[in-house]
């Protein structure tokens, strides 16, 4: 009975190892693609432009955040949520993620700052009749800006990023959104199964020791009876 349980756990564990290896291969393939495309972009870059850390935006904000859900057996499941999609839809998840909260706060700050500067310029420059119209225009623009996907990392390297860099981004998103969260989820599940296997093995060892002791007692009883 105990052996059957261990066998089924080992079977599950082996399938997890298989999935882990497959995901590893996938991640390696994706990352190779990213590196090749960045190298290609660097090779074709104008005036020796290097697409590297010299161009990182020092005000960068995460566009993708991690969501961790605990299953019934306390095994965490990792998924990546894209905040590029409707901002309203993401607000619910923001409560779970500090990072997302920070991002939201900073967004709000940015928005208020924008509004304030708009007010000041309106007050200074506009005559009374056109002020309202221009203010509404400004508000519309602000709204549009708020709706637009923000801070695309591609824009750190200029508005017209080369095609290889775009391809690198696509592959990287695939790695971050699919392969990496799946890999860590599988790893977490493997850890959980490992604990179960060790427990089951211990239980079996205890049961076997108890059986051996019982047999010994019976044997000794039989010897004494003779």
């Amino acid at each position: 009975m105990e052996q059957q349980h261990i066998d089924s756990l080992l079977e599950r564990y082996l399938s997890l190892i298989d999935e882990y290896s497959r995901l590893r291969e996938e991640l390696t393939k994706l990352q190779t693609g990213v590196y090749q495309n960045i190298a290609r972009a660097n090779f074709t870059g104008e005036r020796g432009m290097r697409y590297g850390q010299d161009h990182y935006d020092e005000r960068m904000r995460a566009l993708r955040v991690l969501d961790i859900e605990l299953a019934e057996d306390n095994v965490p499941n990792f998924t990546i949520k894209n905040l590029n999609h409707p901002v309203d839809g993401a607000t619910g998840d923001d409560k779970k993620q500090e990072e997302a909260e920070k991002r939201n706060d900073s967004l709000k700050e940015e928005e208020t700052e924008k509004e304030e500067t708009a007010d000041i310029t309106n007050a200074q420059e506009k005559p009374a009749d056109s002020a309202e119209e221009q203010q509404t225009d400004q508000e519309k623009k602000d709204e549009e800006k708020a709706k637009k996907p923000i801070h695309n990392p591609l824009h750190w390297f200029g508005l017209l990023a080369p095609q290889p860099l775009r391809t690198a981004q696509t592959l990287s998103i695939q790695a971050v959104q699919e392969a990496i969260p799946r890999l860590v989820s599988v790893n977490a599940e493997m850890e959980h199964v490992e604990i179960e296997i060790r427990r089951a093995k211990k239980k079996r060892a205890k049961a076997m020791a108890a059986m051996a002791a019982e047999r010994e007692v019976v044997r000794q009883g039989a010897v004494e009876a003779r």
């Binding site: 390696t28 990352q31 590297g52 961790i68 920070k102 695309n152 977490a188 850890e191």
Partner: protein
């Protein structure tokens, strides 16, 4: 010559970070003490700096997965292998010039331990 090699090395390592940041997972907190959620390691980066970054990333509440290049993890192997907390979880990834080595993978080493090798 050596400076060219240094530059190439630096570029190779930075490519790992650039690639990941392109996916939009880079974050720098606002405020006086702006904290990055990444560290670009080059051959001049001291092991102590990598160790302290690892320490800081693994103790931050807003980080769920710590991604580290496998050959960088080798430099602080004792730290990586003794880290057992569930969150944040640590994942070793290959870099441009150091392909993934299953022999060094902490997950597969754990598997071998389980099967008694």
């Amino acid at each position: 010559m050596s400076s060219h090699a240094d530059f190439k090395d630096r570029q190779f390592l930075a490519d790992s970070v650039t690639g990941l940041l392109l996916a939009g997972i880079g974050h720098i907190t606002t405020g006086a003490e702006a904290q990055k959620n990444f560290l670009v390691v080059d051959n001049k980066t001291e092991t102590a700096a990598i160790e302290s970054a690892f320490e800081s990333f693994t103790s931050r509440k807003d980080i769920g997965i710590v991604l580290i290049n496998q050959h960088i993890a080798d430099r602080i192997r004792h730290r990586v292998d003794t880290y057992t907390a569930a969150f944040p979880t640590v994942l070793e990834i290959p870099s441009k010039d150091h392909p993934y080595d299953p022999e060094k993978d902490s997950v597969l080493r754990r598997v071998r331990r389980l099967f008694g090798e």
